[in-house]
Subunit: 331 residues, 2 copies
């Protein structure tokens, strides 16, 4: 262990900030080289891994608590959309040379709060020096009844396209953050958009309903139309979305009403982390009822149709909107 | 998807270079948001995650095939030392802006070769832009009979300390690479040391014997004496190592005979990825016989003793060597 300027080395950093998060027997208090656990009989393991990097997925000067929440929650959002219940996660942390104890304390405290919220534990991971900017790699582990993971494929013509929550807030929040939003709101509206960009809310409360009723699902991370395209390509179908049916927050609605170009950000901007589910017509009532019971608003925004064309978003007059690009590329 | 200078974006990169590696049903051809598989009844899942970063764990201009092998094999080495059989892995790849198709082709081809060698598949992962240098984060998944993961704790006074292969080659190879090795060998000796630094050889053939006979085990990554200290601390014991019993390659032996200071690199340098196993005396014959049958040389290098002192390395006269530091800090 190397001490530099009184800062702890890797082993002390783990002991001080990460071990308190590893309160599951599978983690062996982070004192071993691997985690181990006995899977629940009759359940499949679901594994997902999302990396986030400074300057790409978040701003280096974002609050450490926000960086922690985003890195963890984008993974939990994948599990929710696949119908899975999260068990725990492994954390890969590549720290730049100028990390501070205050940063690490706030970062790990936020992970601890989210662990309580979502009923998970840190199971293991690795901490290394980063060549320059911070990189976080989280592997999240969940479970579903065997064979029950909800796929991207399976959508059929006539199925309803249903999204949770509101769409576009995060993309507008990012543009606000970048100073690139004309007619930018102030006060509560701005705070809402910025918060949606910083703090994804994985829709784990909806995972059971998705598993029971969706033919296909994913979480909206690259942009609504692009992610819908992932489903239609995998399912060999096409889709029509009524733009006016896409649920908007008050802040987003004001922006779209003031400037129609904002609608492109809403429909293609990404970082929503809402669940896009394809529901057969006979299951729609049950899905909506279970969503309401789970406290998650959902809205039908269109339908699956035959064909191989990319999904189209229709304006109020029923003609396709020209959106330019279908999704945001984090890469 | 953004195309820059004719180079593929994230989706094409995945389709071209990573999808061919994902030949396990659990991976869904990398066309979904998560992997899913049914665990083998009666087995525990073992999960480990090691990150490697350019400039920290490898040189940015190392051959891409070597970077791929090191990133994957350091994880498989953890599984082997825990007695686990690997199933597959998830790959997190943070690529700097100047990546090339040639680099990616060589990198993914090397992963494919290792997958055949070790009987595993790519199950999922994520590919993002790196703020600057390359960062790789691999989560490896293995299985052991329930409750059978070999821990760091469990060593008892009187147990034998046994290592596989030869120790110190990689540390001397790194010093050779850095031009920091006095009396550096040339020809085959140099090639051997450099190869051991670049290409860990996970001792998966030994995993079964470790599981059947070891009270405690880990892979030597931070340095022999430091890693032995991890075991003695976890087990509330101490240890004595006879330095002359530590198995050396011909190249390492020549260096140690020419300059005793090289012995410090051997005993503390790290990156060996050999298995350090603590074997009770009554199991020693069986462990050695199974190791020979598996084609892996093993050597008894010392014994566990009572006490709480850090492990000591003894010279030929039986007095402790002064090694300065116990292990290499990658952090």
């Amino acid at each position: 262990m190397t001490e530099r300027a009184g800062r702890p080395g890797e082993f002390d950093l783990i002991a001080r900030y990460l071990r308190p998060l590893a309160d599951d027997p599978a983690a062996f208090n982070l004192t071993d080289d691997a985690a181990a656990f006995t899977p629940t009989p009759g359940m499949d393991l679901v594994l997902t891994k999302d990396m986030v990097a400074a300057g790409i997925h978040f701003f280096p000067d974002d609050p450490p608590a926000s960086i922690a929440r985003k890195a963890l929650r984008v993974n939990l959002s994948d599990l929710a959309a696949k119908g899975a219940t999260p068990i725990g996660y492994l954390l890969g942390l590549a720290l730049p040379a100028d990390w501070t104890e205050d940063w690490m304390a706030a970062f790990s405290a936020a992970l601890g709060q989210d662990q309580l919220t979502y009923g998970i534990a840190l199971l293991g991971g690795d901490t290394v020096k980063a060549p320059s900017g911070l990189v976080l790699s989280i592997t999240a582990i969940g479970e579903v009844p065997s064979g029950g993971m909800v796929r991207r494929l399976g959508a059929r013509p006539g199925d309803a396209i249903v999204v949770s929550g509101t769409i576009g807030d995060a993309a507008l929040g990012l543009r606000l953050r970048l100073g690139a939003l004309d007619g930018a709101p102030a006060g509560a509206g701005a705070a809402h958009l910025l918060d949606r960009y910083l703090h994804p809310r994985p829709r784990l409360a909806l995972a059971g309903a998705v598993r029971r009723h969706a033919r296909a699902a994913l979480d909206v991370s690259d942009g609504l139309m692009g992610d819908l395209g992932h489903i239609t390509r995998a399912s060999n179908v096409s889709a029509l979305v009524e733009a006016a049916a896409v649920p908007l927050s008050d802040a987003a609605r004001h922006l779209v009403e003031a400037d129609e170009a904002a609608l492109t950000s809403v429909l293609t901007g990404g970082d929503d982390y809402e669940i896009l589910a394809i529901i057969p017509p006979e299951r729609l009532d049950a899905y909506e009822a279970e969503a309401i019971a789970a406290g998650v608003p959902v809205a039908v925004i269109g339908r699956i149709v035959e064909g191989s064309a990319p999904p189209a978003a229709l304006g109020r007059d029923g003609t396709p909107l020209h959106l330019g690009r279908a999704s945001h590329d984090h890469f």
